[in-house]
Symmetry: C2
Subunit: 342 residues, 2 copies
């Protein structure tokens, strides 16, 4: 089935979306929010699936036209967003571009960072950043949402724990990364709020395109309406989602509603393009001695989506524009300041 | 006022606790959970404060004896756990012990990592880890819980945004840290679930002990019933909580219910002891050439608390024992395996 959250309140309102993304129906009688549904999946799954079938058959009641612009990310906020870097080809390119070798262990030991999850952007929200010199970039990725998974769970036990799949734009501030990683504590300021595709889908929706814990379809990324990349998410994914889960669960359980990301989708076949500007700049550096493509400027747009064999969008599109963020001083604080303080 | 969460369901049940930690009253008519209260603070604060006054005055109805053993962490799960390393003295010791200089910028640019927050331990839960060779350690810290804070908020604007204060045991797996930080993406497997003090308190509860966005009382840590450290949390805190908030808010808003940690409390005065074993081992390395104190073994205990001037516990105690975690294969997975697979 296909699920989405209307942009209402902190946690959205759960809706079921038809297979062709044209119609929707409120699910609040079954589960008010997607987090509630994930917290109680065993109890709500059959009712949601029933509503989904009726919606597709045109016999559901109180349906309405589905509009991705009214959606929040499927989980507008989450208790966990753990983002991997499973396309090791991409990691190797990063290293090569700065003349560094990649440790052999990177092919066997997954890279994962803990990302902020207290408020995600809506799929069509502007990317609002104060300063374009921070190096604003998109990253097209695949993400899964899990149910509860015990500490110590191994790849052989992951089957059935992946409840939903969606797309991500993991916004990155490239020029803040080197200093931040140099401090040794990982990404923080360099990874602002991410956005997710309007629709999250259960694995069965993907049919043969979902196997070996990977999604085997091209991820289509446009930058300023130009095709930027279309690599196949099922190719060159060194660590599948079962391996990422095993890595995360080594020293802790994973709770229902945890989102796990694949990292930037990347194929060794360079004709497939890239899912982030940084990778294209690395290739330019390797091929031409220096990067040519600038990072995103105010006004730039990005569009991330995935199509099935018949050319139909599976998840709806992430469609965002970069805008300049202007911080407004809180009035009560202004009053406590000297005039001219800022 | 003082708030706690009974250990019930994924988000606990909000209760109000008397100033002396002896009595409690259900708050579910006002807010079912602490996250709900934080999401709607302006609407619920007055009612919670009224109940708290009645409880202290002995005129609240349906009260019951407060028992920390029935508590979850105040937020049993949270949308954000951002942990600083604000006692730079501690960071400098880490570096010195391995013969590395600390960059000067560490005195002016806070270190913060994104921690897991999808399920915290209860204050009296066992610390359940599969392998003691991972180097199990406690870290005694102070943490705050915020309301909504806009991106770009500066220290001058933080006043009023710190809603609650509590203690933390930031459990760390020391022997997993070097390899993990070496990969460049920060802590992940090396930082399993943390636990928090049974009670979270509003800043006004702390009176003169809360000023300059710091908590000015000693943090008392016992390891196996021996006093391990009692450094003053108000001394040598290089970055106060307003500065940590400014750092976090540089490129993103902060959402209600975000927990921000101080990092291991540490005083330059070594007679005050340490709030984690790693720091004592560094001091031993500097003074005796090698560490003497082992990390925690199965059966070891840790107790973290803070007392007011009259010797009364402010937050209740974090009291935990390390136990060996045994992963049980899921039955449905076992059935799919060859005999003898594990």
């Amino acid at each position: 089935m296909k699920l989405a959250s209307l942009n209402h309140g902190r946690d959205g309102q759960l809706i079921v979306v038809s297979h062709d993304l044209t119609q929707a129906a409120h699910a609040h009688d079954i589960a008010p929010t997607l987090q509630f549904a994930l917290d109680n999946w065993v109890q709500v799954e059959a009712d949601l699936a029933h509503l989904y079938r009726n919606l597709n058959d045109g016999i559901a009641e109180h349906t309405f036209a589905f509009n991705p612009a009214h959606c929040a990310s499927p989980l507008p906020r989450a208790y966990q967003w753990a983002d991997g870097s499973a396309y090791v080809n991409h990691v190797e390119l990063v290293r090569k571009a700065r003349g560094a070798d990649m440790p052999e262990s990177f092919w066997t030991d997954p890279l994962i960072y803990q990302g902020m999850s207290d408020a995600f952007l809506c799929p069509t929200d502007p990317i609002s950043i104060p300063d374009a010199s921070w190096g604003i970039d998109f990253e097209g990725e695949i993400a899964i949402i899990t149910d509860d998974i015990a500490m110590g769970t191994r790849t052989e036990e992951v089957h059935g724990h992946i409840k939903l799949i969606m797309l991500v734009n993991d916004v990155s501030l490239r020029n803040l990364i080197p200093a931040e990683l140099g401090k040794g504590f990982g990404f923080f300021q360099s990874k602002p709020a991410s956005s997710f595709s309007p629709v999250a889908v259960t694995p069965d929706e993907l049919g043969e395109n979902w196997h070996d814990f990977k999604l085997h379809r091209p991820l289509t990324v446009h930058h300023n309406d130009q095709l930027f990349g279309e690599p196949d998410a099922g190719i060159d994914m060194t660590f599948n989602f079962a391996e990422l889960i095993q890595h995360i669960a080594k020293s802790r359980p994973i709770s229902a509603g945890s989102i796990i990301g694949s990292g930037t989708v990347s194929n060794k076949d360079r004709s497939k393009g890239s899912c982030c500007i940084a990778e294209r700049r690395m290739i330019e550096t390797l091929e031409q001695g220096q990067p040519q493509t600038p990072f995103m400027q105010f006004g730039d747009t990005v569009r991330i989506e995935m199509f099935d064999q018949d050319g139909h969008s599976i998840f709806g599109a992430i469609e965002q524009q970069v805008v300049k963020y202007q911080h407004e001083y809180a009035q009560n604080d202004l009053n406590r300041h000297q005039p001219g303080h800022h």
